[in-house]
Symmetry: none
Subunit: 211 residues, 4 copies
DNA sequence: AATGAATGAGCCTTCATTCAT
DNA sequence: GATGAATGAAGGCTCATTCAT
């Protein structure tokens, strides 16, 4: 990082100002993250359309004003949250499939992680599917959705290729099919919880078809 | 006067009153359908959340009051519409897969029909996915969604079994996977139209994996 | 009645017309009464403000159009109903107090009738108090209310005077006080039914103070 | 900085935060009262059923949104108003009857106060009777009505017992009878103003019968 | 930096009344 | 005589956003 080295002729104060600005930005960012965590909690319960800014404020112990102080918009806040959680989800998927080379082990691990996430992060996934639907009609959401789907697609693609003997499916077809299964099982689970083993088996069966 | 013909002994001939009541009911039903068509138009463009009753009224050249005269509720109106269009969709799928016995022919025909519907009925499908998402948070929509998914599931199940040599997938897994692909291609098509051939090929490839 | 004798030079048809008109009017009046009875049923349950014209139509098996065919207005319909029922109520009160000369017997009978009516005609009385309140803000109702209160006032005045040894209360004060008790007991009864004996005793005690 | 003074050991001094919160709450409460005053004005003129939230907003120079910012509901707003005014009324009645021991003086003072209030607070009382009628059909109003009637009942009970030589009326019967008179005179006054002396005389005569 | 009071545009729904048949 | 389809004006309520402090 050459930030500190830059423009040594500028008076000290300038550098100090930059430093301070940086500290500020960092603080701001951490505050945003903090808000986002609380917000997610509220969103998961009620869904995008049914969660008001006031709900979020109350739920996170913040003032209504603070929310718009840190996020210009309701949409910005929501997308920030979604990004945050999907990053984590994708991270877990990556961990699950890395570290194995045997195709069977990859698929086992992946199926297990998907199954786990459905029960553990049920409401967060619901929110994701909610937002993705919004994006169909509200262009504002498209960038986040595109970005996340792209990552998911790539992550899954890597795993499937690693687990495939032959050259396989058209790119993104694997993601689409697993996503369909994921969404269905999530919906089922929301209505009547399925057990881990059953979920894992389903995913395993679906994955089998894709390699 | 042929009042005598309406004798209760003659079960086949309805009385005049009954006839009139029947005509009334039929007229009402046809009016509802007429409204539904206009409504669908508006919904397809804007999505459920962004379509107001006023939008619908204006779009269908009716007064706001008339809408609630025929449909008690916004939800009732929307579900009526969704049901109407999905019935047609399912009908087409059924025609597409019946009449063939050779597995390849079945899959070809099914893939073609799915591809065709994506381009032709794009916005209607968008609406369907929108409503299905709503159902996650709004229980009112669940019955329609469940009913339709059930039919889709069965219809596809029949086709896949007919095209399968071996005993196959867990029930509903096939539907989930094709649904995932359908949704993805629909979304892609909405952003940049894919050509028929490409769409068909994708579906064909996906179906292959399921038999 | 010199209706028939009037203008003998007019052609027969004129008289016939008059007769027919009269028959018509009578028929119309009986139809109105018939509607009113059904209407009362609906009103009693829901109160003035909560009863829609559609409620009434459905409840009485009539069409919405017929209602406005026989009554120009919702208000006209309601006042017609109120008049109808209060006439009956006043009639009963009159019967209850006539036929006795001994003060005690008069009061006993009156108290018993009031008590009976509270339990038997509870919802009708609720409607009455509802309408009387409406009249405070809606002048349209004032004529009916005035007319009925006048009759009640007179009827009760007669009874109280008959049961009084000395010259008593300022006119209408007796009515006001009994009305207060009636309203209170009606309200209590609506919440938790009091038994006849208790109600009668209360009225008896109140009446005692007025003679 | 006198932060130290807010030491939790010193129970008497609130912390700054608490102080501020308190000030906020107080301000909010005073604003609610301010709104209530304007609202009462509108309600008194038009009655409950004929006063819309929009009317109230316009009348009090506020926006529609502000109204629901302070009061969740139309009902909450109205009950708040009713409570506010009845507290004052009951307070006056209490003052009127306390401070005297001679039965005659008690009754004189009470009668005078009732008479005064009828002319001075005519429209507020009209509203009270309106709301009380609403309560018959709308359970939401029952708690306020019950609460207020209970207070009135007790206050009057105390006064009547103080003015009675013998043990008297069944509890609440006195209230019911005076209430009947009050309502009647209020209604009369609304139509053609009676003078103070006449009103007082009527109340005096009615009260006489209850002791 | 943080707050929350205030707003106003907009939504769904209700309902008495009109009128063509 | 009788009907009920159609209306439109109005009502209560929601909520993201603004802004003075």
């Amino acid at each position: 990082m050459n930030q500190r080295l830059s423009d040594p002729d500028l008076p000290h104060s300038a550098t100090k100002l930059e430093e301070r600005a940086q500290r500020k930005a960092a603080k701001r960012e951490s505050k945003k993250a903090e808000i986002a965590v609380s917000t997610l909690d509220a969103l998961k319960r009620l869904g995008y359309a049914n969660t008001t800014m006031r709900d979020i404020a109350e739920h996170s112990g913040m003032s209504l004003g603070s929310l718009t102080y840190y996020f210009t918009d309701k949409v910005e806040l929501i997308t920030y949250c979604v990004r945050l959680y999907k990053a984590e989800f994708i991270g877990r998927i990556e961990s699950a499939v890395s570290g194995y080379t045997a195709p069977n082990r990859i698929l086992d691990s992946l199926a297990a992680e998907l199954a786990r996430s459905i029960t553990d992060d049920l409401s967060t996934h619901r929110l994701w599917y909610d937002i993705r639907s919004q994006a169909m009609f509200d262009p504002t959401f498209r960038p986040v959705v595109a970005e996340i789907e792209d990552k998911l697609n790539r992550t899954l693609g890597v795993a499937l290729r690693a687990a495939s003997s032959q050259g396989g499916l058209a790119p993104s077809l694997g993601y689409a099919m697993i996503d369909g299964v994921f969404r269905q099982l999530m919906q089922n689970t929301a209505e009547e919880p399925l057990d881990q083993a059953e979920l894992t088996a389903r995913f395993r069966q679906a994955l089998e078809r894709l390699v």
